[in-house]
């Protein structure tokens, strides 16, 4: 499925300083729906080029990284359980940077 990933707040530095990534993600074998959990591990492998520990901690994003799915706080849609659909826009912003 086609997804738009946006990295901000300094996270773009972890993926070739590109803020917006248009990507094509295939469903993992035997899975019917893509969840954020799957997507995070996909992003970790395919998009993040350096210092993944700045993005991921344990099986979720590092505290201080905000996630918006279609401009909606992922805390409202079930965080890792949020299901992702074709053409969704997922935004990751680090709040750990300076102000």
């Amino acid at each position: 499925m086609q997804l738009t990933l946006e990295f901000g707040g300094g996270l773009e530095l972890l993926c070739d300083s590109e803020k917006i990534h248009k990507v094509n993600v295939d469903l993992p074998n035997g899975v019917e729906e893509l969840t954020m959990k799957d997507l995070l591990s996909w992003v970790r492998t395919n998009v993040i080029k350096e210092r993944p520990e700045m993005f991921i901690k344990g099986d979720t994003v590092r505290p201080g990284v905000l996630v918006l799915v279609n401009d909606c706080d992922w805390e409202l849609s079930g965080q890792l359980e949020t299901t992702i659909e074709d053409k969704d826009v997922i935004v990751f912003i680090s709040t750990l940077h300076g102000g």
């Binding site: 707040g9 849609s77 102000g99």
Partner: protein
């Protein structure tokens, strides 16, 4: 986001509605209240709370000239935007200015200053830029070349503080506002505990500081969560909004390349871990900071003026002049004094970062951006 509206099935079950208007789909869980609220209500409460903080603490008087310390980062950018909105909406009667300091850090500050210059046009606020080079004759790049990465943050912090005051004096403003948010203040409380600085611990939670000095400083974002400041630009897309075209506030986000201490990074991360576990903890830390029983005698020493530059100082010379004198005489260690006991300088940064290089780290909050 219109697309988003159609996708309310995501959460499963009947779609929940905004806790405030009970009409629209919520887009955000507020860390402060755990309420789930919609874009419009968020936009409303976010600005209203800042307005209340300003009114309840009597931060401004009508007719005052106020400088916004603008770094080009998210906090000061949102502050400049919200403050100019509130000034208009509630007729504060303030003359607002943007004040930026150019530390002279290639690849970091020059880029962020471009952002501030765009903000100047976007908000129509006059901008004043002061550089370390003009004020002190040294850029941070020069200083790092001379002293290396150890203690460079001491220079930067001392110089910036004074530079902001000088800029404010130049603009003839009555007040200086900075973008320090609740997370920053909670972090500062912790850092002051970790390093045993009781005098700063007693002051760091005040919404206004330096009332006895030449230019008082205040922090309208004292009770504002960083999460909301980061999300706010995404909310400012309200069609009847003055800046409707302004889908995303334009701000710059990269770390200072001469980034500093390990334990500041630890504290930052700790705050974020805490927020995940108990969002209210950030405000609780600020409450603790306000409630600490600190004897009034622990106040700072009496302020005089620096014999050299006339800046407020408790000593003969102010800290900046002492540091500057050391630099000019080729003895940069002078004035650093009992700098950081017990090796708190993160050893790792030294290896990775070279003076003038453009290595970027997002490990920690920009050093010296906090006004202790």
């Amino acid at each position: 986001m219109e697309r988003g509206e159609a996708k309310s099935k995501k959460a499963g079950g009947p779609p929940r509605l905004c806790c405030i208007c009970n009409e629209k789909r919520p887009v955000l869980k507020r860390p402060k209240t755990l309420q789930q609220i919609c874009r419009e209500c968020f936009y409303e409460v976010f600005e209203e709370e800042i307005h209340q903080a300003i009114v309840n603490n009597g931060l401004f008087k009508s007719g005052e000239r106020v400088a916004i310390g603008a770094s080009g980062g998210k906090d000061s950018t949102v502050l400049a935007y919200v403050l100019s909105e509130l000034n208009r909406r509630h007729s504060y009667g303030l003359d607002l200015f943007l004040l930026s300091i150019d530390e002279g850090i290639t690849g970091y500050r020059d880029d962020s200053l471009e952002t501030v210059k765009r903000n100047e046009l976007q908000y129509g606020l006059p901008l004043q830029i002061l550089s370390y080079k003009d004020l002190y004759g040294w850029t941070m790049d020069d200083i790092v070349k001379m002293i290396g990465l150890k203690n460079n943050c001491t220079f930067c912090g001392v110089f910036r503080r004074q530079a902001l005051d000088r800029g404010a004096a130049l603009l003839k403003v009555d007040k200086l506002v900075t973008g320090h948010n609740a997370d920053d203040i909670a972090e500062t409380v912790l850092l002051n505990i970790l390093r045993g600085d009781i005098a700063r611990l007693s002051r760091c939670t005040s919404i206004t500081t330096g009332e006895d000095g030449p230019i008082p400083r205040c922090k309208p974002f004292k009770y504002t969560y960083e999460k909301e400041i980061v999300i706010y630009p995404f909310a400012v897309s309200n069609p009847h909004h003055t800046y409707a075209y302004f889908k995303k506030l334009d701000y710059f986000s990269t770390e200072c390349i001469y980034s500093p201490n390990a334990y500041r990074g630890f504290a930052r991360e700790f705050i974020k871990d805490l927020e995940r576990l108990r969002p209210r903890a950030i405000l609780d830390i600020i409450k603790s900071g306000e409630d600490f029983r600190i004897a009034t005698t622990t106040k700072m020493p009496e302020q005089g003026t620096c014999e050299r530059c006339g800046y407020i100082s408790s000593q003969k010379w102010c800290k900046a002049c002492v540091l500057l004198d050391g630099l000019n005489r080729g003895l940069p260690k002078m004035g650093i004094g009992r700098a950081r006991g017990g090796g708190v300088n993160g050893g790792d940064h030294k290896k990775e970062t070279k003076a003038g290089s453009t290595v970027k780290t997002l490990e920690t909050k920009q050093c010296g951006s906090l006004d202790f």
